[in-house]
Every structure is written in C-alpha cells, then in structure tokens.
C-alpha cells in the first residue's frame, strides 16, 4: 500500500495575518492519499482561514505549501485546482439558477472554439455529468435539473461531485453536513468513504463529532490559530477531542 500512504499535501509553518490580527501561527498539516483528516476547532480557531490558504484564496504571510513533495505557491483557486486540490465550501458555492451539469463544470466547461468565441458543448457536459454522478452513485432525476430544485443533501452531493470531476487528489470540505437533514448526513458520509477508497485525500472541517468519528483516520485541533493537538482516531475519544476544541488537554 505504498501509494495509499503517499504524502499528497503538506503545509509547513503557515502563518496568516490580517492587519494586526494573527489568524494562523506556524500551523502544520499533512494529508496522505486515501486518508481522511478531521480538522476541529472553536469558531475563530483558524479552520476556515487555513482552508482558504490551502485552496489558494488567501496567500500565507509566512510558511510554505508542498504538493507531492514540491513547494508550490498558489496565486488563485485556479492554481490549486490545477494541482488537483479541490474545495467544497460551506455555502457550497453552487449557482442555483444553473443545472447540475453546468455547475459541476462551471469555469472548466468543455467548449468548441470558433475564433475568440467559445461555444459550450452541452452534449459533452451532459454525458460527462451522467457518467460522473453514476460513478459516485449520486441519484438525481436528471443532470438538467436546476440546483435550486435539489434538497440540501443533493446539493452537497453535487458540490462534492463538482470537486472530484477533474481527478482531484485532495478534497477539502468545510462543514459538509452542517446544513443537512439527519437522513441525508449518512449519504454524504458514505460519499466521503467512497472517495477515500479511490485514493483521494479528504480533509473534513467539522463541528460534529459524529462525522469526525464516522469517516476520519486522524484528527487535528486548532486553538487560537495554532496546532493544539493531533492524534490517530483510534488513540483518542470524543471527550478528549471536545476538550481540545475548548483548549484543554
């Protein structure tokens, strides 16, 4: 299982200031292929800032990012996407007025080019969407359905499908079950487990201990912008992790 243990992404001593506020200070993070890392922490602990640094939305004030062993500087989300690093945002970042397929391929649509004009290849979008949704076993009535007509769980599934449509190696999910009905949570967790099996490294930011303990292999806690604690899941307990979130060891 050498490929399963391959180190995909490493953040070294990442620091981020916003003016005089220190949002992150010397934070380290590692994620391997086929592994799920849970990131926990109280509001304002720096979880979201860390994810935005990893996705290229923020540039770190200090520290570095290494992808498959090589140092990379991310100028924009497009850079991180090109490396195979995808983000599923808490607000899902879907355009409700567009169909499922067009959301999955938004910004990276297959096109036929005619001079300067790029015409969308609707047929290909539909084919690729159906194949991809089928692979992830996501059930929707039609790839042409508008996202605003979907349930919260279906939307989350579309967001995850979107993040994995381009051979993602690492998928970062911000509170993937926060807005979901209880019966839909299970489906999303199943989806995360099946991603892990395909060798994708998954980072899950969550407040919900149930989620962390259902899908993660390792858990790390941020407290006031620093690494506070980290452990294999098998060596810790819910109560201990909840303690970390509150800054108690």
């Amino acid at each position: 299982m050498s490929s399963a243990n391959q180190l995909l992404l490493e953040a070294k001593n990442v620091t981020k200031y916003f003016g005089t506020i220190t949002a992150l200070e010397n934070v380290n993070l590692k994620i391997h292929a086929g592994e799920c890392l849970g990131v926990v922490g109280d509001n304002g602990a720096g979880k979201t800032t860390l994810m935005k640094v990893l996705s290229g939305l923020y540039k770190p004030s200090a520290g570095s990012l290494h992808f498959e062993g090589k140092e990379k500087v991310l100028e924009s989300p497009r850079d991180s996407q090109n490396l195979g690093l995808e983000m599923v945002y808490q607000d899902l970042a879907l355009a409700g007025n567009l169909p499922i397929g067009e959301n999955i391929f938004l910004g990276r649509e297959p096109t036929t080019n005619l001079g300067l004009l790029k015409f969308l290849d609707y047929k290909k979008i539909k084919e690729l969407t159906e194949a991809h949704l089928g692979k992830l076993k996501i059930n929707v009535k039609s790839a042409d359905q508008k996202v605003e007509e979907l349930s919260g769980g279906q939307r989350q599934a579309v967001a995850i499908a979107r993040s994995t449509a381009f051979n993602a190696k690492v998928v970062i999910m911000d509170e993937p079950t926060a807005a979901l009905a209880i019966k839909e949570v299970g489906k999303v967790l199943d989806l995360i487990n099946s991603l892990k099996k395909t060798g994708v490294g998954v980072i899950v930011i969550s407040h919900r201990m149930d989620d962390i303990f259902a899908v993660c292999d390792r858990v790390m806690a941020l407290f006031q912008g620093t690494n506070f604690a980290e452990s294999e899941l098998s060596n810790t307990s819910r109560d201990e992790v909840i303690g970390w979130i509150m800054g108690k060891k």
């Binding site: 970042a93 879907l94 355009a95 007025n97 567009l98 938004l106 910004g107 015409f119």
Partner: protein, 337 residues
C-alpha cells in the same frame, strides 16, 4: 412514490420549463389579439405593425443591454445618457464633414467606451453597487453631451448615416405594394437579438454571466474572473446603447439634448416585464424582446384609441407590478412539491 404521484410530478416537470420560457409570449399574443379586436381595421395593418417596430427599435437595443447587466444582478441607469452622448458625438462628427462610414462607427465606439468606463468604475473603484456608478454616469454622460454640443440640437445627416434607422427594404418584387416595405431597423433588431441570444445561451461567456448572477461567490470559486466578465457586460451594454444612438439618428435626423431622457427606466421596465429578475441569474433574451414588444404595443394601441399619455403611464406602471406578481405566483407553482 406511487405511479400516480410520479405521473403528476412528470407533468409538472414537463410543463414548468415551457411556462417559464414562453409564458410571457402568451401574454404578448393575448395583447395582440385584444388590440386586434379593439382596432380591427388599423392595428394589424402593415403600416401600423411596421410603425410599432420603428418605435421600439432603439428602445429594444437599450433593453437588451440593460438585460445582460440585470442578469449579473447589476443595473445600468446610464444607458439613456450613453445613447444621448453617442448621438451628440455622431452629430458633431457628421457636421464636421467626416465620411459616412466614420460617422456610423463613432456612436458604436463612443457607446462602448462609456460602457467600459462604467465597468471599470464599478470593478476598480469597488463601488458598493452598480446603481451608484451608473447613477453618476447618468449625469456625467448627459452633461458631457450637452457640453460638447452647447445644448442645442444638431440636425441633418446623409442617407447612409440614416439607413439603419430610416431605411426601407422594398418588397415590391414580392408583389406587395410600395407602401408595404420592411423597415431596416426591424431587420437590425432581429439580427442583433439573434446574435445576443446565441451569445447568452451558447457561449461560455454567456453562461458565466448567468453564473455570476446566480451566485457570484460560486463563479469566483470556480476560477471565473468575475470583474473581467462584468467589464465585458457593461461595455456591451454601452455598445448596444451606441447602436440605439445610430438608429435614433436615422429616425429623427437630429442629435438633440433630450434624446433618451428617462429611457433607462423604459429599458429596465421591459426587462422586468420580460421576466428578468433583479436578483440576477434569471431571464431570457426572448423575454426581453417580449417585454419591449408589450410596452410598444401598449403605447401604440392606447394611441390608436386616443387614450391620454397620462393613462399610458398608469397602465405601464400597473403592468410592471402585475408582471412581477405573475412571476411570483409562477415561482410558487414551480417550487411546490
């Protein structure tokens, strides 16, 4: 889910898209039928129908530009002023004796540059809302138009310059009478609307315009350069206002200070009647066309029936409110499970 439910469900699913797409055309057809019964001799006569198209010709350009802006959840209040400034520049260039092909291009370039100015202002100056930038340029562009012309009309253009707004395509070779000509402006409307229909529905940029209106954060997270697309949209809106100026120059044979006064509101009204949403991401080119037609036919019909223009204002205002209310009801119907 039992089969009866499924049947009902699929009927909903089948009907809703058609209703959403063509509901506004239904309203248009109803209006035409009603007008025909009220004015059976005149309303559908060749002369009157071509008249309607000539009257809506330049408004339809402004409405199309404003429509694209509204799809991005923005607004452009300056289209009337852009048209006036472009018209004044056209008039000055024409009076200076420039050849017709230069005169014809000037309003298009002027309109495009005005739109570019709006787009850059909104994005680079990080205006809290396009309303503010374009409210500013509504005054700036009209003021500039008055400054360069001295606030007086400049009249008299050559036939080539007037062709798009005033030209006639002879149809006598079809066995029709001399009076049964096709206005060039009607053909122009058709061509421009088809081009922009293709642009909005078939190209990637068009899709991104809808995506920005649907969720700007999603567009940004997808790596779309939102500011660049916005600049393109406002520039195209200005360009279309420039075409409007060229048509108006042909129709009136004059550059005049009050050109396009308050026409931005007509353009917005046409978009709203046509089903575009102020929240962005919703609306069709066909809908805008229907919106422009509905306003044009309403004005024309009320004129034929000698209804005072004050009543026209009341009626158009009522139709705006009614059209949006129908849209609200439609959405309730559409989301019912």
């Amino acid at each position: 889910m039992d089969s009866k439910d499924q049947e009902k469900d699929s009927l909903y699913l089948k009907l809703i898209p058609y209703f959403e797409k063509y509901g506004i055309l239904l309203l248009l057809v109803i209006m035409i039928v009603v007008m025909h019964f009220l004015q059976p001799d005149v309303f559908l006569s060749w002369r009157n129908v071509t008249n309607v198209f000539k009257q809506i010709s330049w408004q339809s350009m402004l409405a199309l530009g404003v429509f694209m802006v509204i799809v991005t959840a923005g607004i452009d209040l300056s289209v009337g002023s852009i048209m006036m400034l472009s018209l004044m520049i056209l008039a000055i260039v024409a009076k200076a004796g420039a050849p017709w092909y230069i005169v014809v291009i000037t309003p298009l370039i002027a309109g495009f540059l005005c739109g570019l100015f709006n787009g850059l202002g909104i994005t680079l100056l990080r205006m809290p809302h396009p309303f503010i930038m374009t409210l500013g340029t509504l005054y700036i562009f009209r003021g500039t138009g008055n400054l360069i012309s001295g606030g007086t009309p400049i009249s008299g253009f050559t036939d080539e310059v007037r062709y798009l707004g005033h030209g006639r395509i002879d149809l006598t070779w079809l066995g029709l009478e001399k009076s049964q000509y096709l206005p060039v402006s009607l053909v122009l409307i058709a061509i421009v609307y088809i081009i922009f229909w293709i642009f909005m529905n078939k190209t990637r940029t068009g899709k991104w315009i809808y995506a920005i209106g649907g969720n700007p954060n999603a567009a940004r997270a997808s790596g779309i350069n939102v500011n660049k697309i916005l600049v393109i949209v406002y520039s195209l809106c200005g360009f279309l206002s420039g075409i409007g100026a060229l048509i108006l120059a042909g129709r009136t044979d004059s550059g005049y200070p009050n050109a396009g006064l308050q026409s931005e509101l007509d353009a917005i009204a046409a978009c709203i009647i046509g089903g575009a949403s102020f929240f962005g991401g919703r609306g069709t080119v066909l809908g805008v066309f229907a919106g422009v037609m509905i306003m044009g036919i309403l004005r024309n019909g009320l004129n034929l029936m000698d209804v005072s223009s004050f009543w026209q204002q009341v009626l158009i205002g009522s139709i705006i409110v009614l059209a949006v209310y129908v849209d609200v009801l439609r959405r309730d119907f559409g989301t019912r499970k």
